[in-house]
Amino acid sequence: MTVISTPADAPKAPPATRKNRSSGAQRRAVALFIAPFALLFLAFYAVPIIYAIVQSLLTVERDGTFGPPRQVFGGLVQYEQVFQNTAFWESVGRVLLFGVVQVPIMLGLALLFALLLDSPLLKGKKFFRLAFFAPYAVPGVIAAIMWGFLYSPSLSPFGAVTSNVDFLGGNLVLWAIANIVTWVYVGYNMLIIYSSLLAIPTEIYEAARLDGASNLQIAWRIKIPLVIPAIILTAVFSIIGTLQLLAEPQTLRSFSSAINSTFTPNLAVYTTASVPNYNLAAAFSVVLALATFILSFVFLKSTQRKVTQ
């Protein structure tokens, strides 16, 4: 590799050799510090993504009923299949509906809990902070199994309710999952918003109090506007998480007959990969990743404009 210094620099700097040497050493140091991240990023992020894209452009050919499969370049054949696959797009619609309802509820609760923790009125803050956060420490699969038992008509300790309301039936099971996801992630999102609240300088509150603002007014007019960036961050995380729902519906399948194999986009990918049709599964994944990216980007852009206004 040749090192090209900017032409404007060259004539101005007399001790060119020294500068070059030091910048060379600097480069080596930078490279050394970046290397661990870069290697891991390549191995576990870039390479798998490239592999998935390559897989999604291949198709299988074979001769005869039991001919061994050969992978050949198929162009956008798999993507055609993706866009013709109604089950996949139904699942995308399902998680979007899920997100539209569940994300605002979850973030609303997270914000409420964060404000309560931050308010001077609440006693036992340390306890509540831990208590709200504790569900996040429960792995998603375990949480789903636990709630599965709670929902189940005959095994639930709340049998009087669950034997009359079919939480695991076709009408409610999506919202039963929403409840589990909310239960797990409220504490996590609360903590992000809460730490952002802690970063607000207390002088602002003092000034507001001198102006005669009540606690409620401080929360509404000062705290919430100042933590909007944190709320947007949690919203983006939640949108990504919603589109990638897998563990909860997959686990609840052993409790409910209403969750089919393409209930969420990721479940559809999983099902397709186990056929096994790796190429189509890869194309699903690429489309899903793009959709997630676009959705998050659009959300960030549209909220940024509002904030600056």
Binding site: L155, G170, F255, S257, S261, A273, V275, N277
Partner: protein
């Protein structure tokens, strides 16, 4: 470096020479029997270690017997979830990555899928394999050879002839005759519902159970003429079975719990379920899942479509396959044969894993001779042995059964939820299976 290359080339030359001589030797001795595909199966030099993945409980203890007697061929056991619940996906991934275990448990219905993905070693040329045919129940051998000469892709492990488990005490108490035909079964279902229980549970996810029902009725879902696959999920036999269960579902005469779940176990344990039409391996499922009902169950042949008929279906049953890429197919085949024919191994696999061996000698095993306490001392294995001989030996599985099962199961789920019928599910499954075959360039006739 140069010297190293030289060695490698020499080694390659030797290997190809060996392979060539192996080929010609095989061709000379067995003539037409060893087809072109049957690769030479040479024993390895020195001690080897084999990996074996299975989900039969207690298999590690059975393998322990082998390891003690065969210090040069050591087998390590890995256990996984049931095939369609994850182990097959692992196998497919491992085959793709080139690091599959030497041996894997594969159900008969998944063998075509693995063969289509080029995931199985043809072990027909391995010592003792071709001669083992007579030791196995005929239809199981047909499943592992695909009815082709010179092909053996696995060794049959167990089978799942079906019969009807029923609560003898409840039927007697209620004065209901134990049904012998499906017509009587539906009538009994109504009487049992009137008492607040269910005659049985319709298993939405166990499409292979439903296939067993179609199998009993003389139906076929797939056919393969060597050039094209024929998909026929909607034959008149399938339709008869689908309509029958749809009627029971529509009238709410059967429950729809996810099978093998805790909820499902509980409903058997508390007398909510009066019968279970299931395979022989279900005997231990039932006694483990519903311990409070010990002594109250009995086993009768499957209800018949025609009065006085003697047909039975089959549900499940596995083989031990040598997976593609194994470096020691000869040793792997030797172990697979031992595992599935040795009387001591079969007895232990039955005791710990509830397997009903595919080996003909199984009927002589002590474990199958006596009565079983859980079933009121009845000699239930006599019923299953009879059922086994009544299973139609020619039943062909399709090359993408995992997908077929998933799609039909999704349709069954929708039917249970009130949208569509079981027959609609089969029609959708038919179309999606054809699409899936085409997507993988598997020739299919329409």
């Amino acid at each position: 470096m140069r010297a190293h290359y030289g060695k490698v080339t020499a080694a390659f030359a030797m290997i190809s020479a060996l392979a060539l001589s192996g080929c010609s030797a095989g061709g000379d001795s067995s003539g037409a029997e060893a087809g072109a595909e049957a690769a030479p199966c040479e024993a390895s030099d020195g001690p080897v270690t084999l990996e074996f993945t299975t989900w039969v409980p207690g298999m590690d203890q059975v393998v322990e017997l082998w390891n003690e007697a065969n210090p040069d061929i050591q087998v390590t056991v890995q256990t996984g979830p049931n095939g369609n619940s994850g182990t097959y996906q692992n196998f497919f991934n491992q085959i793709q990555a080139g690091n599959a275990p030497d041996l894997g448990q594969i159900e008969y219905d998944a063998l075509p899928n693995f063969r289509v993905q080029d995931g199985l070693e043809n072990i027909a040329g391995c010592e003792g394999v071709a001669d083992a045919q007579d030791q196995f129940v005929d239809w199981t051998w047909g499943q592992v050879t695909f009815g082709e000469e010179g092909s053996v892709y696995a060794v049959p492990q167990d089978s799942g002839p079906m019969a009807m488990y029923y609560r003898a005490d409840l039927f007697e108490e209620a004065g209901i005759e134990v049904p012998t035909t499906w017509e009587e079964y539906a009538a009994a279902a109504e009487e049992i519902k009137a008492q607040g229980s269910y005659i049985t549970n319709f298993p939405k996810t166990d499409v292979n159970w439903f296939a067993g029902m179609v199998w009993q009725n003389g139906g076929q879902w797939f056919a393969n003429d060597g050039e094209n696959w024929d998909v026929n999920l909607t034959s008149p036999e399938s339709e008869e079975v689908a309509t029958y269960w749809q009627d029971l579902l529509s009238e709410d005469l059967v429950s729809t719990l996810p099978s093998f779940s805790d909820e499902w176990n509980a409903s058997f344990n508390t007398g909510q379920q009066w019968t279970w039409v299931s395979a022989v391996w279900g005997a231990t499922t039932l006694s483990d899942g519903a311990p409070d009902t010990a002594g109250k169950w009995a086993v009768a042949p499957m209800p018949q479509w025609e009065d006085g008929g003697e047909t039975a279906g089959n549900w499940g049953g596995s083989s031990t396959a040598v997976l593609k890429g194994s470096e020691h197919p000869a040793e792997a085949a030797k172990f697979a044969l031992w595992l599935n024919t040795d009387p001591e191994a079969l007895a232990l696999a039955n005791e710990l894993g509830g397997l009903y061996p595919a080996a003909k000698s199984a009927t002589e095993l002590e474990a199958f001779a006596g009565g079983v306490d859980y079933y009121g001392g009845q000699k239930i294995y006599d019923v299953f042995a009879e059922a086994s001989s009544n299973v139609n030996p020619d039943f062909t599985w399709g090359p993408t059964m995992t997908q077929t099962y998933t799609d039909v199961s999704d349709g069954f789920g929708a039917a249970i939820g009130g949208s569509g019928t079981l027959m609609d599910a089969l029609e959708t499954g038919q179309q999606k299976t054809i699409d899936s075959l085409k997507a993988q360039s598997i020739p299919v006739s329409e």
